[in-house]
């Protein structure tokens, strides 16, 4: 019986911890950007000619952008301005509509530009266009770090 209670408690605590992590918007947005970064790193290597061009991989990059962009703006609720070593700037909350629009533009660009990709040249053009969104958002909404 005692064992059972301990086991149940352990599972309960574990479940709580997992759901708490799921509800942690700072961790969630970091995870989302980590995926985006991995995709962008792969895309940059192909665009630069450091890696061979792969059409399926190229399309997956834009799909991943679109997927992240669909929920990304929701990961900045009130109360998540600080903590978790976030680099998000208060500008996000002060200019909520502009921030949401910037994220939406990124997703829309990924869909439109991604559809144009057939070979390396069209990929370079599309990747360059969509990733302009990276710099413009990070310039305004993220604390300096690179």
């Amino acid at each position: 019986m005692k064992r059972l209670i301990i086991a149940a408690a352990t599972i309960a605590i574990g479940t709580l911890a997992v759901s708490a992590q799921g509800a942690d918007p700072i961790a969630a947005r970091k995870a989302s950007m980590k995926t985006v970064g991995e995709q962008t790193g792969a895309g940059a290597r192909m665009a630069r000619g450091q890696a061979p061009f792969d059409l399926a991989q190229a399309r997956a990059i834009f799909a991943a952008y679109e997927q992240s962009a669909a929920t990304y703006a929701n990961l900045f609720p009130d109360g998540s301005q600080t903590g978790g070593e976030t680099a998000a700037l208060p500008t996000i909350w002060a200019n909520r509509a502009a921030f949401n629009a910037a994220v939406a533009k990124w997703g829309a660009d990924a869909r439109t530009e991604g559809a144009k990709v057939t070979d390396l040249a069209t990929f370079q053009a599309a990747f360059g266009e969509v990733t302009k969104n990276c710099g413009s958002c990070h310039e305004t909404y993220r604390a300096r770090r690179n």
């Binding site: 630069r48 680099a87 990733t131 990276c134 310039e139 690179n146």
Partner: protein, 306 residues
């Protein structure tokens, strides 16, 4: 006795004032320094990109990077400096400046009327530039659109409002030396050294500063907390906290497209810097990378965890 003391103090005061005046006199280029072939405005366009003029002087609130109406605020521990209008506007910009006026601003930090500029204008780096590059840059800047934006006064407390005092700062921290190539190093290293230390003025943001506002020499390029607010300016020496894991190709590519090896993208003020370096030649970006990788690895303050 009292009268003598007052007299003595008055004499000391006048003498001190005269010494201060003499020490803080602005130094100018000799007119002969500007001799040379006709300037090349097309090359000046590249110098304009290398020197990052648009990053601070672009007219606030619009995106045309050839409109140099100024207005960008540069925060510092001394106060906020507002970049002035450097478009060819006759009154508000530099439309009436002579080539000598422009060269004295860039290489000596002195205005046409003989005032010292604040080193927020990075003449501590620009002083390394060749006279030829400065003349080409001026020829290019005269072709840019005229912008009527009025200059915003700097937001500084006393005594930093006394520009004459900057003469003392310059005596201590402005060596007046042009870039000198090192013949024992490769042509690429020398080109990179010139671009990074001169027009590129990379050290101005990527180095910590002492209370005097001067760069801490033994931590040059080692980064530190962002002096302008939230965030961090990274170490760009080949230290493990810096660019030890980056190849020269990683750096040169980053200066072209803004992507780090891990797929992150340049943010903050660096996003604008990339828009400048993207306009340089591949050779110039590779040269900057070669120079940065050859810097001594310097430890800076520990960067924040990601």
């Amino acid at each position: 006795m009292i009268r003598r003391l007052v007299m003595g103090l008055a004499i000391l005061g006048v003498a001190g004032g005269a010494v201060f005046w003499w020490l803080t006199m602005p130094s100018r280029l000799a007119p002969a320094a500007l001799a040379g072939p006709a300037p090349n405005a097309e090359h000046g366009r590249l110098v304009f990109a290398a020197a990052g003029c648009a990053s601070c002087h672009v007219t606030e609130g619009q995106t045309d990077r050839t409109r140099m109406g100024g207005g960008h605020g540069l925060k510092s521990p001394f106060g906020t400096f507002y970049a002035p209008n450097i478009s060819p506007h006759p009154e508000r910009g530099i439309g009436r400046w002579s080539e000598a006026d422009f060269a004295n601003a860039m290489l000596k930090g002195v205005s046409p009327s003989g005032e010292h500029y604040y080193p927020a204008f990075p003449y501590t780096s620009y002083q390394r530039m060749t006279v030829g590059d400065v003349r080409d840059l001026f020829a290019y800047m005269k072709t840019l659109p005229v912008d009527p934006t009025a200059n915003r006064p700097h937001d500084l407390p006393f005594p930093f409002t006394v520009r004459r005092g900057l003469g003392l700062w310059k005596l201590a921290f402005l060596d007046g030396q042009p870039f000198r190539p090192d013949p024992s190093k490769s042509a690429a290293w020398n080109r990179g050294a010139y671009l990074v230390e001169g027009p590129g003025h990379c050290a101005e943001c990527h180095s910590p500063r002492a209370f005097t506002g001067a760069i801490t020499a033994d931590r040059r390029f080692a980064g530190g907390p962002n002096p302008e607010g939230a965030g961090w300016v990274p170490n760009i020496t080949p230290h493990r906290d810096g660019i030890a894991s980056w190849s020269e190709d990683d750096i040169a590519s980053y200066l072209a497209d803004g992507f780090t090896p891990s797929g992150d993208s340049a943010g903050g003020a660096m996003a604008s810097v990339i828009r400048n370096t993207a306009q340089l030649s591949n050779d110039d970006r590779a040269a900057m990378a070669a120079y940065l990788k050859a810097l001594p690895a310097r430890e800076g303050r520990a960067p924040p965890r990601r």
